[in-house]
Amino acid sequence: MLLSAIVFLPLLFALIIALWPKETSLRHLALGFSLIEFFLSLSVFQKFDPSSASLQLVEKHVWIERFGISYFMGIDGLSLWLVLLTTFLMPIIILASWKSINTRIKGFHACLFILQTAMLGTFLAIDAIFFYIFWELSLVPMYFIVGIWGGSRRIYATVKFFIYTMAGSMLMLVAMIYMMYLTQEATGQMSSNLLDFYKLKIPFIGGQFFSLQTLLFFAFALAFSIKIPLFPLHTWLPDAHVEAPTPGSVVLAGVMLKMGTYGFLRWVIPLFPEASEYWAWLFMLIGVVGIVYGALVAMVQPDVKKLVAYSSVSHMGYIILGLFSFNVFGLQGGLYQMLNHGVSTGALFILIGMIYERTHSREISKYGGLAGVLPLFTIFFFIVTLSSIAVPMTNGFVGEFLILLGTFKVMPVFAYVAVLGVILGAVYMLWMFKRVFFGEPGPLVKDDHHPLHDLNFREVTVLVPLVVMIFWMGLFPNQFLDWSKASVDHLVQNRSAYNLTIYGASATPAAPLVAEPPTPTAEPTTESTPMPEAPSPTTDTTAEPGE
Amino acid sequence: MGESAFEIAINCVKLVLVFLLMVQMVPVLVWLERRGSGFIQNRFGPNRVGPLGLMQLLADAVKFLTKEEFVPKAATKLLFYAAPVFALLPGTLAFSAIPMASPLKWGEHTFLIQGYEIGVGIVFILAISSLAAYTILMAGWGSGNKFSLMGALRASAQTISYELALGLSLVGVIMMYGTFNLTEMIHAQEGAMQFQAFGFTISSSLLPNWGIFYQPLAAVLFFAATFAESNRLPFDLAEGEAELVAGFHTEYGGFKMLLFFIGEYGHMMVASGLMATFFFGGYNIPWTTTEQVYQWALGIVGSPDWASALSSAVHFAMFFAKLAAFLWIFIWVRWTLPRFRYDQLMDLGWKTMLPWALANTIITAVVVFAVSQTW
């Protein structure tokens, strides 16, 4: 029940908010609700067993029996932190939008909560159709958030965002339905259950693009790549970010982009092991290109928000690089980088929103010398900048380090290029920082009629949790990594024949897998050999997947 | 149509007879109307030609026939001529479907005292009478006169509107009797009141077993609707003199006018006949059954053939008495009630009668269902 409560409580909140009669107390109510949701999600820790790689807190009910569609939720190390990230960001977003959203407050908060349900559902659903519903549902509130509360070109941006994402999702839906059909062929009973999908052996032919697994792989990968977004598919992101209101940008960057990477982690890599291995080079290439390209383009942006948006493209490139390195470093790093990006880019957007509230401009050239006027703001911005450019002791470093290490282990050449991102990241962020905060006060900053006020108590309250997280995650990454360790180890070791068990259902066979000491030699070779995958080289102790 | 050539021949003759009966009723009715109006309005009415002015009928007929054939310039000739001809049809065809007496059994032949028997009689009658609207429209439009057209449109709208109430008021009757067939309905109204309810048989010798006691509302509605259907006062908006000169037949005169007259009176007769059939036991003598009358006739003449003929004649007389009574009511109403305004007419039709008819239908359905259950 816990997961259902976590997922659907925001929907209830949205309903209450939509029906709430008083506008004045609405924000407080929403904040309270989001805090309730956050603390509820914290209680997952109490019930979660970090030593197990299996799905936990499972809820499974038959939904549409004929097609084997079920109401199936579960949590494991891969989704745990993303769920918490979502619930953690929501109170912050609501508090951050306290003053910036002035019209249709009711609708806005309702949208936020619906969005929260959709995102949590995406992370927790283990059934393909169920997942897809949440996946698509997440578009709708976002569409409205950008389209109603956005900037001047909001309609263009929101339509672009919607159509881009939708276009990818359609292929994914087709692939999902085809896989349901495959389950019927394999077992006689149609099923959209992810665990059943895992059991499928989809034929893979190395050289041929038009072979089954490759096509399915690309159908899924395209949907997720657009959502992430990966390099050539990223152009919706800057527009959406620039036009979105601050909370919209935060959710978009903080959580929604993670839906794509999570999709890779949960769906693509385990479902299509051979194809993803065969095509890993492509995705790593895209990731690397994205890192460098995003950084370069970010460097020359005249708009702060657009700069951060392109930096997201760059950061997401790291994540995909990590995921497709298929080793513990890369995967853990990728997972960690998702959280980092959520926290630090979210914080960046909040900060940009705060300055935008004051000056109503995001033009870099109009700023300058802000550090002298808004010292507190500058400090926070600097800390977040450090996190974004992955200075050690902040969260960004851990993720980036692990990703690059994982990549280097597999394909050093990509790592050599990817470290350019480390340099360029510093270049564009610090250049922007220099132009905005240093130098002579710009036209917006020395405006005598409207003196700028430094952060007030509410804004500090918004930022402090984020800064605390930045350092906490930077200094004690183990406290975070340990929770996802079992799942990631399990994924790495059994990638060629992935399965997931339900916690407590057949506990015994799953246990030795986790206990196995991770030795580098035991991992499957990551050379992209087009050979059909031999019976898994790892000692797959789960002889029969638990029914 | 019949099994043998003989029967077919008889039936054809019957049809002609019914038609002639109707046509011949018209002058009588005209006379009655004029005399009746005089009586009601405390004046004499036609009294110069013949005794009681009866010869006035002949004089009128001569006048009609000898009048000039007149076609307006703007008229559409075909329709202008066709309209009065078609005006005869609905009344005649419908009247032919009404049983006027108990069947005459002669030898192995059975002759129904009606134009033809139709299983779904009510439906047929309604269908035929609904065609009347064309006549009016054809006449109105064909005259090429805007008053005519206005009158025609009013009349046809009125006809269609009241057809709903009319049809719906009959649904209750149909449900109660469980048949469309008029003969069966009449059969069901024989004798004194007696009906089955909750498995009990309830009877009363005080009242005849007439439909009006079971469906009073339907009777009222039906009767009112027939007034509108036949375009008579108080619903004769189509020919409101003050507004539309004479409605759709403004441009008509002479023989064509006569045909319209016949059509209108035919309507009246159909309405009266249906009233009698649905609600007043048809050709049955009150408190008696057809069988009783037949036995009585058998007691008088002895031979079954003749007894059957006698009882048919008696029934025919009874039917005609009832018919005459209703026709008189038509006339009576015409000369006593003022004319409605058009919107009042429509309001009455759509907002009063239609809902009541609907209510009647529903209540009847519920009651019929409830009563048929036995506990």
Partner: protein
């Protein structure tokens, strides 16, 4: 040639001729009257096929109500003979006529060449009886369709009233 056969040919020719009249006559009022005639003919054909109740309903609904409406409307518009009866366009007209012809040929030809599916039914039900079983069928097997049609009619009634009413309604308070 029995009466049935005679009746069929009579009614068929009447129906068909008046049907063609609907399409060809350039005065829409005559068209409408032709259609009314067709309706009556069709009703009669129903009757010859033993569907008396339906025949009656056909008369009431089509001939008595629907067509009257048409005629009324046409008369209200006071449309005389039209200047251009048929749509413009030689090519499309040719195509349309070709389609009509082809379709007629195809369907009629098909029917003409196939043998009768079923012979004549032996039982000849009484008309009233048929109506009763019709009602039973309507309220059991087809009850959903029946109810749906009821709803449809209600909606249509409301919609038509909404469409037809002039500003302020029939009883506008001035």
């Amino acid at each position: 040639m029995t009466a049935d056969i005679f009746l069929f040919w009579l009614l068929a020719s009447v129906t068909l001729l008046s049907g063609v009249g609907v399409v060809l006559v350039s005065n829409p009022i005559y068209s409408a009257l032709c259609l009314a005639m067709t309706m009556v003919g069709v009703s009669a054909i129903f009757a010859t096929l033993g569907a008396y109740f339906i025949a009656g309903v056909q008369m009431i609904v089509y001939a008595g109500a629907v067509m009257v409406l048409f005629v009324m409307v046409l008369m209200l518009f006071d449309l005389k003979t039209e200047i251009a009866t048929f749509s413009r366009g030689r090519i499309s007209g040719a195509i349309k006529i070709a389609i009509v012809g082809l379709l007629a040929g195809l369907i009629a030809g098909t029917f003409a060449m196939t043998t009768t599916i079923a012979g004549k039914p032996e039982t000849k039900e009484k008309a009233g009886h048929a109506a009763k079983s019709l009602g039973e069928l309507l309220f059991t097997k087809y009850v959903f369709g029946f109810e749906a049609l009821g709803v449809l009619l209600l909606i249509i009634a409301i919609g038509v009233v909404g469409l037809a009413r002039s500003k302020g309604g029939t009883h506008a308070k001035h």
